[in-house]
């Protein structure tokens, strides 16, 4: 009886999905309600979880509920703790959900809402969630070891070193591009700048509170901190309305970039409890709250999508990022569809807390499905805006000019109607001087969120508040990542340099610490500054590099998963990881190749350098450069970007080679060669006895 009811339920879900997609397909050219996208996404997630993830769990991985997990075997009450699956789901989701899924889909909205939606849904089901799930599984079967460690032990020492070098490069470009998002959002915005700067003393106050006044009282601290943040937004408005104060908090992009670089250095050598930890608490809770709020907002307001299903920019001439739908859609939306970074998280703290093997499916596959909802919501938030407004906010000044009149004229010539009055009115509504060329996702998302949330609470009067709330939320989150990421980079650099200069390896050495931190900050600071002065707005250049690197890391993680499946003698099912690996390799290698060698200077780094070199040889100066020196710097930056892109390609290709070698070796051996721990019967019995003893005591 229950079985047939369940079957009926799944048939209903499938019908709902068919209907939602049918509705979206039939209403091309007319506006559709965002709810249809939500319905389609929820149905896809339900079906994928119920059927595909079950297939992976039972048939491919053959999860064994009787096999003790590391949490059970090493239970120490601290790192290894068997944890309720829903609690752990929350922990894992909070760790994987970040700014990435909020930025990529906003940029990809230039192609229309349909390409992004389809890639997020297909990508998450067959690539992203599969990667998260299997990496979590293999790490759990290896006592929760890290990705680098596992690559080293399963694919060899050299492969491990190459992979870790790749991860360091990815971290650098990630930190640069995230910091750039903050710069783009805060430049010439006294309200935003004041609010975000205010978070530093607020966080420090909270740090002292949890360290000395009321140690460890996270809840209290967060409530006080949240109230202070709201106050900061309120005072930000007062600052922006006072000419003298507004002057003090109005910064150019260059100044902000240098400030963030300096801040990154100072913040990452301060004790963690003072700034990093309290801000992490605030940003984590704010992030979860905002995601829930946005979801409720979309369900409650049910906004119409204004963006066409497929825009004319699928041909690659779009202003937000350059390059055609293939491969650049699949690079632009990384997080939300498939994000290599998750493989670092899934081999971090989560595998050490799993209570039972059969819960890996919910935590690994399920959390990633949740993250895809975040990406879908970001896409919706961008697509509920008037397309003309969207392009005004996301196109570089080099294309649309710097005044509302110019911008409206250019964008209208693309076929998206917008008037200068609409642009100035929107800026006034959200309490900003201008909203032109605020690429980077955050401001667009903020206007979209303001649009949705003000429909739910507060109406137009609250729009400026919601806008700055969204900016604050993203900036707070990103600055925490910059701080934490710089520390991680520092450890990696110390580790790498320590091989040659042993004293560098000592994490307690003040000197080694400062040198490695300075190197880390210089590395990402270089790309950040380059992005800020870039005529194409920086995001245009750096986001594809970030996307390529993040997807390549995913390919590396999936190669590891494939190798492990072969070693487990499950090669019959290896297509589960081979298919997404192949797709990611095709996309990233094509995109990497085009970024290097594409004849269009807007896409290829080398042709861009060539264009400027030719001009220099002919004795002309090309905008935005004003001097020969600036021309030379642009050419130099192009070569740096090209080298970085080439390195990414080299890293991923060498991992393919090591992967193939490891697979051949596994095939040649008739036995299971995987290096799992804790599976044999003696260990199982010992644990059973120990846990029984513990229960009696």
């Amino acid at each position: 009886m229950t079985r047939s009811i369940q079957t009926l339920g799944w048939i209903a879900v499938t019908l709902a999905l068919t209907f939602a997609f049918g509705w979206i397909a039939l209403n091309r050219g007319e506006t559709i309600n965002a709810l249809w996208i939500v319905v389609a996404a929820v149905c896809v997630a339900l079906l994928a979880y119920r059927f595909y993830s079950l297939f992976i769990a039972q048939t491919v991985l053959q999860l064994d509920p009787r096999r003790p997990t590391p949490a059970v075997r090493y239970n120490d009450g601290l790192d290894y703790v068997p944890t309720n699956r829903y609690v752990l789901f929350g922990h894992h989701f909070a760790a994987i959900a970040g700014a990435g899924p909020l930025v990529g889909p906003v940029l990809a909205a230039q192609l229309g809402y349909l390409p992004g939606t389809l890639w997020i849904l297909v990508g998450v089901v067959f690539a992203g969630a599969v990667q998260d799930f299997i990496v979590l599984f293999i790490s759990m079967r290896r006592d929760g070891r890290s990705l680098g460690d596992m690559i080293r032990s399963e694919m060899g020492q050299v492969a491990g070193v190459i992979a870790m070098f790749g991860v360091l490069l990815i971290m650098i470009i990630l930190l640069a591009v995230l910091a750039l998002v903050v710069v783009k959002a805060l430049a010439h915005s006294p309200w935003g700048s004041f609010t975000v700067f205010a978070t530093i003393p607020i966080a420090m106050l909270m740090g002292v509170y949890t360290r000395y006044l009321r140690p460890g009282r996270i809840g209290e601290m967060s409530v006080i901190g949240f109230a202070a943040l709201i106050a900061a937004i309120y005072f930000g408005q007062i600052v922006s309305e006072n000419p003298t104060a507004a002057e003090m908090f109005t910064f150019s992009g260059e100044t902000l970039a240098l400030t963030i670089i300096g801040y990154g250095f100072v913040a990452s050598v301060l004790p963690v409890w003072l700034l990093l930890a309290p801000r992490d608490y605030l940003s984590t809770f704010l992030k979860i709250g905002t995601i829930l709020g946005l979801a409720l907002g979309i369900l409650f307001v049910m906004p119409d999508l204004q963006m066409p299903a497929v825009s004319r920019f699928v041909d690659g001439t779009g202003p937000v990022f350059s390059g055609a739908l293939f491969p650049f859609l699949f690079i632009t939306i990384a997080c939300g569809a498939v994000s290599g970074f998750h493989s670092l998280i899934a081999s971090g703290t989560t595998p050490k807390m799993i209570e039972n093997e059969d819960q890996v499916r919910l935590i690994g596959y399920g959390s990633m499905l949740m993250e895809s909802f975040v990406a879908i919501m970001a896409l919706i938030a961008a697509c509920v805006l008037e397309p003309g407004l969207y392009f005004a906010m996301n196109s570089p000044a080099g294309l649309i000019g710097t005044t509302p009149d110019q911008a409206a004229q250019v964008i209208s010539s693309w076929g998206f109607v917008i008037t200068p009055e609409m642009l100035t009115q929107t800026a006034a509504d959200v309490g900003e001087g201008t909203i032109l060329s605020r690429a980077g996702g955050a401001p667009t998302l903020a206007v979209g969120m303001a649009h949705i949330l003000s429909g739910a609470i507060g109406g137009k009067a609250m729009m400026a508040f919601w806008y700055h709330f969204a900016i604050l939320f993203e900036a707070l989150f990103i600055l925490t990542t910059v701080d934490a990421g710089t520390r991680v980079c520092r450890f990696m650099i110390q580790d790498l340099l320590g091989t040659f200069v042993p004293v560098m390896k000592r994490t307690d050495s003040w000197m080694a610490n400062v040198v490695a931190t300075a190197l880390a900050v210089t590395a990402w600071g270089y790309f950040l500054y380059q992005g800020v002065v870039d005529p194409l707005g920086g995001i245009n250049t750096l986001w594809p590099l970030f996307g390529i690197s993040n997807q390549m890391l995913a390919a590396i993680a999936l190669i590891l998963c494939t190798v492990v499946l072969f070693k487990m003698k499950r090669q019959r099912y290896a297509w589960v990881t081979i298919v997404p690996t192949a797709w990611l390799l095709i996309c990233t290698l094509t995109a990497g190749w085009q970024k290097l060698f594409h004849p269009n200077p807007a896409i290829g780094f080398l042709s861009h350098a060539g264009k400027f070199s030719d001009a220099l040889a002919a004795g002309t100066i090309l905008a935005p450069a004003k001097t020969v020196e600036e021309m030379n710097r642009i050419i130099f930056n192009d070569y740096v970007d090209a080298v970085l892109c080439g390195l990414f390609i080299a890293v991923v290709l060498s991992m393919v080679v090591y992967g193939v070698l490891a697979i051949r070796k596994a095939l040649a051996n008739p036995n299971v060669t995987t290096r799992e721990v804790g599976g044999d019967e003696t260990a199982r019995q010992a644990t059973r006895l120990a846990s029984r003893g513990a229960r009696h005591a």
Binding site: L174, V272, F285, I345, T481
Partner: protein, 71 residues
């Protein structure tokens, strides 16, 4: 009936609280104490304050650590 509902509510609230704390890297202190008492009865148990600091230092890699958050 009323009592049962309250109990249910309290259980859900405590789970939510536990989730929120684990999200920022602080596992359940009561579980830790219970574990220490059951398995290492003759060893000292950290106070909540010590426990909190220890977890904070671990999460943010004071002794060198990995990335625990995503982009």
């Amino acid at each position: 009936m009323h009592e049962a509902a309250m109990q249910e509510f309290r259980a859900i609230f405590s789970r939510l609280k536990q989730t929120g704390r684990l999200m920022v890297g602080v596992p359940c202190y009561d579980t830790y104490v219970a574990h220490r008492l059951a398995n290492h009865p003759d060893e000292p148990v950290m106070t909540y304050e010590e426990f909190f600091r220890d977890r904070q230092d671990t999460r943010y890699g004071v002794k060198g650590g990995g990335m625990n958050r995503c982009c």
